[in-house]
Symmetry: C2
Subunit: 337 residues, 2 copies
């Protein structure tokens, strides 16, 4: 049984999910096992019965295994799609039921590639899948936020090596997006501007933290980057909600993502460890959605996992970046030159 509990001294929700302790691990070291297809991999074509029933797929042919992208529930979910969302309030102990959705997006039938090695059109299909699932999930009762993220490599917390992303739809707005929403709203109230649009303009003119730029997207390492080579990828057009992205922007997003991750792969090697996640406005059912349309600006953040956060970081909530964003961005630009 999953339960979501408030860590009262820190104010944040923790997901207590003992069911997840059973999940398998296929990494032996950091190398890719098997070839283009792997008989033991539950995410490979031909092994569809090994996953819970399919939720969504983009297919090229009519056969069960003819998919290009395939979505199914996580077999070891951190959230309970049949659970309750009932809140139990208390002075010291506050909790709610573990209701939510936890899905896996198998990004390609190929076992032995990384996302950025796919063609732009294939990456586009992955992004279209994110959008479809986000649109569907926010319609579910009580869902307040849809987290879309990707883990590559054991060091980045991936347990299976087949290229995949994950989606978690929660009954609460998570801490970090919630903080970004609040800060963006305050900035907008104070200045009348979208903080993120202002940041994009400023970074363009400062130049030294730019990683790459395409027609519709802009990638830079933020001034206060927490991690070496941390890169934020923004749509140039102001839009608070990822899932309302225009159809013609999707290809541009795929291209910018391929370029940015490709630069990192050149620098750090195949299957280098990283996480990315999309930060977006909350779902339609959250009160402040209207405010956020003007003040918030969706984006994707990539954090290569090259250093190990230690006692200072966990104890303080602040980070030590031993590379710095100017050097990080310069080195990534050099890979693209």
């Amino acid at each position: 049984m999953v339960e979501i509990r408030r860590e009262i001294t820190k104010g944040e929700w923790s997901i207590i999910a003992p069911t997840r302790s059973d999940r398998p691990f296929d990494f032996s070291g950091e190398k890719k096992e098997g070839g283009a297809a792997n008989a033991n991999c539950p995410f490979c074509p031909g092994n569809e019965p090994k996953t819970p029933p399919e939720i969504f797929a983009i297919r090229e042919g009519g056969g069960e295994s003819d998919w290009k992208v395939r979505v199914f529930p996580n077999k070891y979910p951190a959230l309970d799609k049949d659970g309750t969302a009932a809140v139990i309030e208390g002075d010291l102990y506050e909790s709610m039921g573990g209701f939510g959705h936890h899905e896996v997006v198998a990004e390609t039938p190929r076992h032995d590639v990384s996302l950025d090695q796919l063609g732009v059109e294939d990456i586009e299909l992955v992004i279209r899948t994110y959008i479809e699932r986000a649109r569907d999930l926010v319609e579910t009762r009580e869902i307040k936020y849809v987290s879309i993220f990707r883990n590559q490599g054991k060091q980045a917390g991936a347990s299976l090596s087949h290229p995949h992303s994950q989606i978690m739809a929660t009954t609460f707005v998570p801490g970090l997006p919630g903080t970004e929403h609040r800060i963006s709203r305050d900035f907008h109230e104070r200045t009348g501007d979208c903080m993120h649009c202002r940041l994009i303009e400023a970074e363009k003119s400062e130049e030294e933290r730019i990683v790459t730029e395409t027609e519709g997207f802009f990638a830079f390492s933020p001034f206060g980057a927490r991690f070496p080579y941390e890169t934020h990828l923004y749509p140039k057009s102001h839009r608070s909600d990822f899932k309302e992205i225009e159809s013609d922007e999707i290809g541009q997003f795929a291209k910018a993502l391929k370029l940015t991750l490709g630069a990192m792969r050149e620098k750090f090697g195949d299957f280098f460890p990283y996480n990315y996640y999309i930060h977006t406005g909350p779902s339609a059912s959250v009160n402040q959605k209207e405010d956020l349309e003007k003040s918030y600006h969706w984006h994707l953040e990539i954090i290569p996992r090259l250093t190990t956060p230690a006692g200072f970081e966990w104890g303080s909530g602040n980070f030590i970046n031993i590379i710095g964003p100017e050097r990080g961005a310069r080195e990534l630009r050099q890979e693209l030159a």
Copy 2:
């Protein structure tokens, strides 16, 4: 040159410290190298000239190497003790100079032990050293908070295996202690009580999350624990500021720490990876110190590093705990039975 910069979208300070990228790494796997003393270890007795000049030591004899505990500046500091603390404000870019102190506490002359394998009296000396350094450092200009923490094992971010802690004195109150201070103050305003004293009482009567209890200290796994086996160790007497601990409490603290870490070592093995850190009230120069004397309660938090935070955790700021605090505490209690 160190610079402290605001990550504006998240509101937190990041320490940009390129000097730290040169530090050495002595781990080959997770095992201890060498015996009780190691000729190559800069923290071992006899190698004192390999560290920057000593700041503080507790000695048994008169010789340079006759120390029991020894403190010196970190050779690869994340803060600059000769730097400026000047703040540069801006709408989008806010920064301050990298002024601060970053020290190493060599906890014992022995290379091949873990902290909890020392006798209670020797652990007491380590705690006395923390107190001495914290008292001295808060007197320094501009220092607002002293972070005391410990990393054991490569997976927990330690780069050298000789038993040691670190101290970082910063010109800002870090994000997480700052959040705890605010939440504790709000609770006190609302109820007239210290939230932490209330928590200790509640956990005592709930019983199921208790890890251990000694005369003056109480260790439990919090209701909303973020990490498997996360344990918080509290003094039973209300006190906001760690460095104002009474002399007779120090031995009790050492004993409780030895018991708690010892239970974890029994369960996870010698030199299991973990971080601990002390959360305390801010320094005397911070405005709200007086409020916090009633509302805040210092404590130490231990997080075994058994799982890898991934895209969900980094993107959301929330955590998935696959063990849960009741099971975690029960298993640790069993090691102490």
